[in-house]
Symmetry: C2
Subunit: 337 residues, 2 copies
């Protein structure tokens, strides 16, 4: 063996060792940096990390191939604040006020009159039928492009009454970290919300990193038309899908076509989604965000008008769903903090 | 400078130069390798390559950011063979025959009798109403999981009457190359088919590289139920969406929530999808696959029962849609060849 050959081998070996060392230390650095820094140590955080590690472990029974790593998230109360009322309801009420000059008849007609008079009791009395009327009057009768513009403009300017901040600031930082951690591990993350699909899509990518095609929500029917030579989609005053409660597995099947292996919710509206995602073979994960922090956010569950959590809370333990106490499990609440 | 140091430098420099050379020649090899080898040189091929290059060119008016690079593909007649009848119709007819022993009444009842008697004339007479009846009888009344199994099993065993091969072999090789070329350039590719969404999903990923969540199609309603303690989705005998003609932009909006910048079809059922994708600002692309090869496949257009191409063909030139002649533009037809 001549000397130059020894040199080459030594140098090559050295380079390889350096590369391996760099790679190993890189991996250690990654493992040591906490992907969920806004979560306090405890059962909830540990179970998330354990679940993600488990489905990544090739050659074990818990392994799930990347294309099947589908995770679905409720929006209102799970990813952002839903009190003192659903954000989209605040939007509908603002729209009624903005459109009122063109509808003088609303001054005499419920539930519109209740909105214009800020009469919450009368509004509550109008019930679901009244709410649907409000949605149809404010969400239909325009093109999809016009509605996206209106919803996008509103979300950019409206402010939460308690925090005096844009609603998109009132997104839960721990959930953003959870979304990112799942995606970093090959998951595809979807929103599956009772809220309107077209209400969320204009900002879901910017705020959550979830593109429009991964947003599932309630919808009204649309119709294709050529209007003044231009193709348009008109929003019709007719319900297409109520993506809530038993409608969530229906929406998931329609839009995703795979059964999620993980689901995240906060109310009885997420009960069936949690069942659908977790009551099947293979490694599964269900999580309920429990609003327990009256100081930093709101505390509510069984008796709330928005985001009522009762049946699903009772069923959590038997189903192995993790119940997150926002007060105890979350170090930091909102992304703006 | 001692000799061993010179040696190390020389060797390191050598390694770096080799690496750079490898990388450059790799890039040249890639640039020179044709992404569409089954396409003959000509206007169609050139326009595809030009379009893809144009939307990738940052800093130019034609540039389209990756998340907005949405391309939608019809399935029947665009990605796979739709003659002598839609594959899904062949499936429905086979299902009627398989289920007939449980339905003795079908022997006397149209359109089922026509199917059992192989009476094509009577079947044609049953029209769209008859077809819907066949679909409901064969596609509903089971869980989504059961239907996926039935459709998947059938597609694995059924054979095309002319080519005596599985239908999934009768996928157009030039279109597979086009799908791959788009994806390699940051496009997200979707199927938008008049065919059943749940009929395509069991095999779309394997055959086209298109995952279930990127398949849009016609659908029937489903209902969530707990059956013997297990969550299930039951397929109901009720139409949800007819994803054809003016229903295609509706399906695109519902499932994707963005307007495609490129659309690919072959029949009048794709007319509105082509309008929706191309009649807007920014760089756009529309393409029609014209079945002109009676020898290697089938030749049909204005008078065909399946995949009729008439109105869209007349409108192609004014809209700048590329019309591909399968006979002239495609060097190779099917992926099995």
């Amino acid at each position: 063996m001549n000397e130059s050959l020894v040199d080459r081998r030594t140098i090559l070996a050295g380079l390889l060792v350096s590369a391996a060392t760099l790679s190993v230390s890189g991996r250690i650095a990654r493992a040591q940096s906490d992907p969920l820094p806004s979560w306090n140590e405890g059962r909830a955080k540990k179970s998330i990390l354990d679940f993600v590690s488990a489905v990544m472990r090739e050659g074990t029974p818990d392994f799930v191939p990347a294309p099947e790593r589908i995770a679905t998230f409720d929006n209102d109360g799970t990813l952002w604040c839903e009190q003192p009322m659903y954000v989209q309801l605040a939007f509908a009420l603002d729209r009624v006020k903005a459109l009122a000059p063109k509808h003088p008849e609303w001054k005499q007609k419920q539930p519109f009159r209740a909105v214009l008079d800020n009469d919450i009791a009368a509004l509550a009395k109008a019930g679901e039928k009244g709410l649907v009327e409000l949605v149809m009057a404010t969400h239909a009768g325009m093109t999809t492009a016009e509605f996206a513009q209106i919803a996008g403009d509103w979300i950019a300017s409206a402010r939460h009454p308690k925090f005096n901040r844009p609603y998109t600031d009132l997104v839960y930082q721990p959930m953003l970290e959870l979304l990112a951690h799942l995606r970093a591990n090959g998951f595809k993350t979807f929103i599956v919300s009772g809220g309107g699909i077209e209400f969320m899509r204009p900002w879901s990518e910017r705020v959550y990193g979830i593109p429009p095609e991964q947003v599932v929500g309630s919808s009204i029917k649309t119709k294709f038309e050529i209007d003044k030579g231009k193709p348009t989609l008109i929003r019709l005053p007719a319900i297409d899908l109520v993506d809530d409660g038993p409608g969530k597995p229906v929406g998931i099947n329609s839009h995703i076509g795979r059964r999620p292996i993980a689901a995240f919710g906060n109310s009885d509206g997420d009960f069936q989604m949690l069942q659908w995602a977790t009551q099947s073979s293979g490694k599964r994960f269900g999580l309920i965000v429990h609003h327990t922090d009256a100081e930093r956010e709101y505390a509510y569950d069984r008796k709330s008008s928005f985001g009522k959590l009762d049946k699903a809370l009772d069923a959590a333990s038997a189903n192995g769903w993790i119940v997150v106490s926002m007060k105890d499990d979350w170090k930091r609440m909102f992304r703006f903090e």
